[in-house]
């Protein structure tokens, strides 16, 4: 007897190798996985930017002291020294440093041009303050500063941080929604392919069912095939997405306060490196679940 007769045909009694083609489904799932990778990168990027802005800007504030060298309302020194002393003596403030004249004229150059110090404009002193805790209540401090040197303005970045946080959260929500939609579309694609496979193999399924195959066995055969094809598609999508994500990470690095890294491992956040191998696994799970549900529902029409 020839060798082929000895081959167990358990794995493909239903002829699914042809009914669920190894081209169309993996290609579509690969496209879905690629889109999911982009959406996940959007999610991670928005989260990282939000974190960076909150750490960098949220923990600093700017204090303007008009007429810095006039006598202060309280104490013996001038207004600038008094305000600095109040700031340094306030718990939660790490550093408070008055900007030099050069730094000030650098700041004003876009508006006043070079040589702003030569103009007879009374410029306030500007103090850059680093906060140890960005969540502290700054209202009492503003009041005390105003008492020490009336007219002192404290500008914190709360409003901007809140707006940026809302923007970042919205971007994350959109990215999450995109991932969800991609998963649903992938499930729909797999369901359509499975139903096409069921239609193409209807007779074989009826024969095997008539010989005593359980619903679980038939659904298992379809699910095994769909899982394999989906995982292959997911893997292809993740592999294709990796260089694109690295390129995007390089472009986005300056916005995150970093510099483009020569080491690809550090160019992408760890979360994204973990998510990429998760894509084939997620695709496989969606493939398995969708095929199981689709086939079990379809088989209910048989007695």
């Amino acid at each position: 007897m020839a060798g082929i007769s000895l081959r167990p045909a358990r794995s493909d009694e239903l002829g699914l190798r042809r009914a669920l083609s190894d081209r169309m489904l993996p290609t579509l799932v690969a496209a879905m996985a690629f889109l999911a990778a982009l959406a996940l990168a959007g999610w991670t990027g928005a989260a990282a930017l939000s974190r960076h802005w909150q750490q960098g800007v949220g923990s600093s504030l700017t204090v303007q002291v008009p007429q810095p060298h006039a006598a202060a309302a309280q104490g013996n020194g001038d207004r600038l020294a008094t305000v600095l002393a109040v700031l340094i003596g306030t718990p939660g403030i790490t550093t408070a440093r008055a900007l030099s004249d050069e730094e000030l004229s650098d700041l004003l150059r876009p508006w006043l041009g070079a040589g702003a110090e030569r103009l007879a404009i009374p410029l306030p002193a500007v103090i850059a303050v680093q906060l140890g805790d960005s969540g502290s209540d700054l209202a009492p401090l503003a009041h005390r500063l105003d008492q020490a040197a009336p007219g002192t303005l404290m500008e914190n970045h709360d409003v901007w941080i809140r707006r940026l946080a809302v923007l970042a959260r919205s971007l994350q929500a959109c990215a999450g929604l995109a991932v969800l939609l991609v998963a649903l579309v992938a499930a729909a694609v797999i369901a359509v392919a499975t139903r096409a496979g069921l239609a193409a193999r209807r007779e074989a399924i009826e024969i095997v069912h008539g010989l005593g195959a359980t619903d679980g066995l038939i659904a298992g055969r379809f699910a095994a095939r769909a899982t394999m094809l989906s995982a292959a598609g997911g893997l292809a999508g993740a592999v294709l997405a990796a260089p694109v994500l690295l390129a995007l990470a390089g472009l986005a690095a300056p916005f995150g306060g970093g510099v483009p890294s020569a080491n690809p491992l550090s160019a992408l956040p760890l979360g994204l490196w973990l998510a990429l191998p998760g894509l084939p696994a997620a695709a496989a799970l969606i493939g398995w679940l969708t095929a199981q549900v689709t086939v079990h529902r379809w088989l209910r029409r048989l007695p």
């Binding site: 007897m1 007769s5 009694e13 074989a204 024969i207 008539g210 010989l211 005593g212």
Partner: protein
Amino acid sequence: MVRFEAVGLHYGGQSGRPAGPEVLHDISFELDPGVFCWLLGPSGAGKTSLLRLMYLAVRPTSGRLTLLDTETSRASRRVLPALRRRIGVVFQDFRLLPHLSAFDNVALPLRLAGRPEGQVRADVTEMLRWVGLARRTDARPPELSGGEQQRVAIARAVINRPSLLLADEPTGNLDSTQAERLMLLFKEMNRLGTTVVVASHNDALVARHPAAELRLAHGRLESHD
């Protein structure tokens, strides 16, 4: 063993579709375990529908049908696969899987029953040798003649030593020698305890092998003796 009690059948009527005409009306009979029975009647009498009820391809729309001690009319779908594995069927149109070899087609019932592959190999090889297809094990059904396909279908039906063996015009594509060999196989299985029901138009064959008869006409049981 096999008990029909006022069984009626009409197709359709599921999923909101209108029910078709009733193809079997008020069928009642009982077959004791181990009998050999001819199922006779003109074309359109309902022989194939009666067999379909017996191999659980459809369920009765009225009445009670008991097969191998299981009341199938109301049984859960879950108990039916195990019951189907105890029923062998030779279909008029063979119903072989065209992408599988003759060997794998015959092996299918054993593999579905979870038999070890060594036993599958031995049993299928012996069965294919018995039906004269030892040299055609690797051929797929489209490469086989009608008679060869029928012998594969017969081998698949009996490989699992079923408790109930049903055949719908099994000798239609066989020459008289092969038809006699098939009858010997059926009788041998019947002697070993299998209940055998054979639907046939072949009056000469029926005359040569007298046995109990179920005679149908217009969807009704005309006689049972």
